[in-house]
Amino acid sequence: MARILVIDDDSHTLRLIEFALTKAGHTVVTASRGIEGLQKAFQAPPDLAVIDLMMPQMDGYEVCRRLRQNEQTAETPILVFTARIQEIDRQAALEAGANEFLTKTATPGELVSQVEALLAGKVSGPGAQARPGQAIALFSLRGGVGVSSLAVNLAVALARQPHQKVALLDLCFLSSSVPLMLNVRPKFILAELSREETPISLDSLEKYMMAHSSGVKVLSTVLSPARAAPLSAQTTEHVLSVLKGGFNYIIIDTPSSLDDMTLTALRASAQILLILVPEVTSVQAAVLTLQTFRSLGLADEAIVPVVNHIFAKGGLSLGTIQSALKRPVKAVIPHEPELLVLAINSGTPLVLSQPSSAMATAIQKLASTAWK
């Protein structure tokens, strides 16, 4: 069973957590101050840390940050357990390095379940790191169906799983919206890679990546439309193979075309999420895409249809869509335009700004399926 470090300044809460976790079979080490907890963590890194936010002298955010900065504890799963209930607190905790956030309104049973879930992630962690990264491409032949927003949210949801390094490769070189959706500013574009040494190393590639507070690293192909240029098939293939060596997941936001760059990215992907909306032209485009993929020899089992409800009413039924595609739909993303627009405008992905919304929940479910 796991060795768990619990840091909480409240002695009653500390005893209660210790009792619940010990009863579940874990070894519990306690600390009543942030600095004391850090010392214990650095002396003997725990399998997991449960941290309160509101502590005197050093608050829980700072404890999370210092644990992440230390090489020994950089990968330790962190569960923040706090009486602060606001969404802004959850966001700040995740940005400080926590993997999960639980409010003290939760029962001891819920706390234990959350700890077990995080530990289960850790068990699969090293194996996941040892194997090459998995590319997941999001594609639609028809634009305006929400491919980029799904790619952004899926990447962030995957990055929130323990021990997952996630890259988001933005191949929409003509109309990229990924940097805006994450509120990051690209400094370099992939097309400039040709000036770099050959072959491109992971270190040189990381210079071109923008780090988002969620942990996602973004690689963009566009700085301005005037400087927009697609990558060659060879560069795309090489970039993806380098990324697979350094990241567990590479989420690819593809343009609505089947040029050499896009086809290479699709071929290199373990999964292709075919995004469609429940209306006739989108479904027709998806059917044509499936036929084209078949003729191009793309692995049929890699293609996963996902229905994105971008309008409220009047859409085709799931049954109609599935019979047109002749395959099941893996995920249905519910309609939540107000929250999504707010998230896009604020530059904070929905899975971070409104994690309990129906749309964020569906995306998190999709991410956890991919993760497992």
């Binding site: 300044d9 409240d10 009653h12 809460t13 209660l16 936010l53 509101m54 502590m55 005197p56 002298q57 608050d59 955010y61 009486a83 602060r84 209930i85 606001q86 969404e87 802004i88 607190d89 966001q91 700040a92 409010t103 003290k104 309104t105 707010l342 604020s346 904070t348």
Partner: protein, 171 residues
């Protein structure tokens, strides 16, 4: 919220410039009763964590003991849904739910108000003896930072701080 049955309530207290997360001992009463108690003008706070409104997750100060003027509180957000005064728990009149939008200094607050009997805004806001009114399912946003929202089970709003009070039948 009664933390593991110890009579303490943890809440977010808001003035028009600060967020104060703290616990207070309500001595087994509700916080609404405690706030509406006219015999005391201060609230004793324990384990107090202060944040500025423009960065409400950043803790700038923490103290084990603090005192907060009740009339300086703009509103209080609690996790629990049932935090109303005990006096509202019983009654022979029918209860009606209303959607409320109100403004207080620096904030706009939306929530649901339960009214027993006929709605009379004058009684509710002026003649009533309680200093704080309770709304359920609240969403409070600083008007200068509308992307930040504070939610909870209940909000207790200081009536003397209310500037605009809008009400309609619950949708």
């Amino acid at each position: 919220m009664d933390i593991y049955g110890r009579g303490f309530i943890v809440a977010d207290f808001f003035t028009h410039t600060y967020r104060i997360s703290a616990r207070t001992d309500t001595r087994k009463r509700s916080l609404a009763d405690h706030l509406n108690d006219r015999l005391t003008s201060y609230l004793e706070l324990y384990e107090t964590f202060v944040s500025r409104l423009h960065k409400p997750s950043e803790i700038i100060a923490s103290y084990n003991l603090a005192s907060l003027r009740k009339d300086g509180i703009t509103f209080v957000i609690l996790a629990a849904e049932k935090e109303t005064s005990e006096r509202h728990a019983y009654g022979y009149f029918s209860k009606q739910l209303y959607d409320v939008f109100l403004t207080v200094p620096s904030f706009e607050i939306r929530g649901k108000l339960q009214v027993t009997g006929k709605l009379d805004l004058h009684v509710l806001l002026v003649k009533g003896t309680e200093n704080f009114i309770s709304l359920s399912n609240p969403v409070a946003s600083p008007c200068l930072f509308p992307n930040i929202t504070f939610t909870g089970g209940t909000v207790l709003v200081n009536k003397s701080r209310i500037e605009l009070f809008c009400i309609s039948e619950a949708s």
